[in-house]
Amino acid sequence: MAVSETDVRHIAALARLGLPEGRIGALVAELNGILAHMEELSKVKTREAVPVAGVAAGGMPLREDTGPPLPLARARDRFAPAVRDGFLLVPRLATHTAAGAVADAGGDAAELPE
């Protein structure tokens, strides 16, 4: 199986990667070069093989559904790109235009809480 430029654009969109148009062709060649080596797996008989999703010896143990407290040593506004009132700010979604209008009317909000 080989990827095309259309495939690369599609998976880049799925992965939320903005790729420069000039990079697409090179990526097609690079990915196809790598995937060609993966074809080796298709020749292996695995009908009786048990898929391995993890290698924890004895599997993952069940634990109490309560985690220990995770205090942060510094507040979010010390490491997050945009924070207001303890909320992470993100750009407005197109579908939130109406809500955005309300926020805009209220003052300086160019962004809405997540």
Partner: protein, 493 residues
């Protein structure tokens, strides 16, 4: 007072500090002096990319109280003195509170974690002092430490060559004598391969042996925190401190931790060492084969029994690894989107911001692997690639189970197919991936593995790899110490 601790084992230094013969602050100042002398920083080897000498020295000076409590006594496990005053370096994808944690990536430039990794907490609780964060391939994706947003790291033994990767900065820091112990991380060989290239000891513990809390996730079914040591004893000492259950990591295992330093000294008489023929292919350079066979002969001379064995699916490890790891990475790295931490680049709306941020923040290798991982998980390709890879991974696990079930105690192989290559010499992605050909299997099946120096070729180190059954690090260290003792200076010639 400046201390030439590079010549002292970590345990020796610890004992000297506890006995008040060496001030902990002096040991740390000695580490920074050595770093300056060998040019370990950004304008030299580029092994250490974040450091704060004043803060580290203050932290070391504050250990004086623990020195007084020690009153020259030994440092049993849990005493808080196991690594008293020992300077350590930490890979840049392991969270520290005071120094940046950037994963060698532009997308996390300037990020300082609001929490500390359990492994760092354990080191500090034992009295160790972090003297720097080490360079790495971006998000641990690479085998040369050339793919860092902060520039390549150079091999201290030959600065025109790579130190290996992705934990190349940690390997170089140990090889250059800046620290005796450094933390790295392993997903497909990222501790063992640079250890081999730099002529130091590198350990990948059993999956679940060491907490991953605070290790930035790359491929969660493969990732482990690993350890570099200037000697087997240094690495074993660090492992004693690091290993064990951590409630903060759901994958960490509740399995007793052996006293690795002590058990390493036990005899290898009767130990069955498997030599898997697939790891000694015709293409292996003759001098690599000769160094490894010399190491096997050294084990035999001490009473070990060398047995030819087969791990028949070894050739499939790289295709499996480069499907599973990118698939998991594509999911794990989705969190870097400009919302919660790190870089944000404005774009057209929310989606545009995501795309602009990730495009500007990730380098070419990370981008390539995210695309590859997204592709193999996408509708129509999942069964052919990802599901198939997990099935073949089951075959690989079966290979190891059969060999260890047949009475083999430990496996011995070359760590890498070649010694360190020149910076810029490998440009084809798949050719770079083949550096992991002997190491990726241990990650795929979760067993412990380590690299120890077994000689040199034209001055470049050669590593020998030991692999043991799950949670049998004690057996692995025993064989490693026997090798180190038997080879002596030959291991570095």
């Amino acid at each position: 007072m400046s201390v030439d601790f590079a010549a002292m084992s970590a345990a020796h230094l610890r004992d000297a500090v506890a006995a008040n013969e060496v001030e902990p602050g002096a040991a740390v100042r000695g580490s920074f002096a050595r770093s300056g002398a060998v040019g370990a920083g950004r304008d030299g080897l580029n092994a250490i990319i974040w450091a704060d000498a004043a803060r580290s020295t203050r932290e070391a000076d504050a250990l004086a109280e623990r020195v007084n409590q020690a009153q020259g006594s030994r440092a049993p496990h849990g005493s808080g003195r196991e690594l008293l005053g020992v300077p350590v370096a930490v890979k840049d994808n392991i969270a520290t509170l005071e120094l940046p944690t950037t994963c060698g990536s532009h997308i996390l430039e300037g990020y300082v974690s609001p929490f500390e990794a359990t492994v760092v907490s354990r080191l500090r609780r034992a009295g160790a002092v972090v003297v720097g964060k080490t360079n790495m391939d971006e998000f641990a994706m690479g085998s040369s430490t050339e793919h860092s947003a902060y520039g390549p790291t150079h091999n201290p033994l030959d600065p025109t060559r790579v130190p290996g990767g992705s934990s190349g900065g940690s390997a170089a820091a140990v090889a250059a004598g800046v620290v005796r112990i450094a933390l790295g991380s392993e997903t497909g060989g990222s501790v063992r391969q640079p250890a081999a290239f730099c002529g130091v000891v590198g350990v990948k513990p059993t999956y679940g042996r060491v907490s991953r809390y605070g290790l930035v996730a790359f491929a969660s079914s493969l990732d482990q925190v690993g350890v570099f040591g200037a000697s087997v004893d240094d690495a074993a000492l660090a492992m004693e401190v690091l290993a064990g259950l951590d409630p903060l990591d759901a994958t960490s295992a509740d399995v007793p931790v052996a006293p690795y330093r002590a058990t390493a000294h036990e005899s290898v008489e009767g130990l069955v060492v498997g030599r898997p023929k697939e790891y000694f292919p015709e293409s292996l350079p003759p001098r690599m084969r000769e160094r490894c066979d010399r190491a096997l002969a050294a084990l035999e001379a001490q009473g070990a029994v060398v047995r030819e064995v087969s791990l028949p699916h070894t050739d499939l490890a790289i295709p499996v690894y480069y499907i599973v790891a990118p698939a998991e990475a594509s999911s794990n790295l989705a969190r870097f989107d400009g919302v919660r931490y790190g870089l944000r680049v404005q774009g057209d709306g929310l989606r545009g911001m995501y795309e602009a941020t990730r495009s500007a923040g990730f380098g070419p290798e990370v981008t390539r692997r995210i695309l590859l991982g997204t592709y193999v998980l996408s509708a129509g390709y999942y069964d052919a690639y990802y599901k198939k890879a997990q099935e073949v991974r089951g075959l690989l696990a079966g290979d190891f189970a059969a060999v260890f079930g047949s009475g083999v105690d430990v496996l011995f192989t070359p760590t890498t197919p070649t010694p360190a290559f020149r910076i810029g010499a490998v440009s084809d992605p798949y050719e770079m991936y083949l550096n992991d050909i002997f190491t990726a299997t241990a990650n795929l099946v979760g067993v412990p593995a380590m690299s120890v120096p077994v000689g040199r070729i034209d001055g470049l180190p050669v590593g020998g790899q030991l692999m043991a059954p799950h949670f049998r690090e004690d057996v692995m260290f025993r064989a490693a110490y026997a090798l180190e003792r038997a080879l002596g200076e030959e291991a570095h010639r």
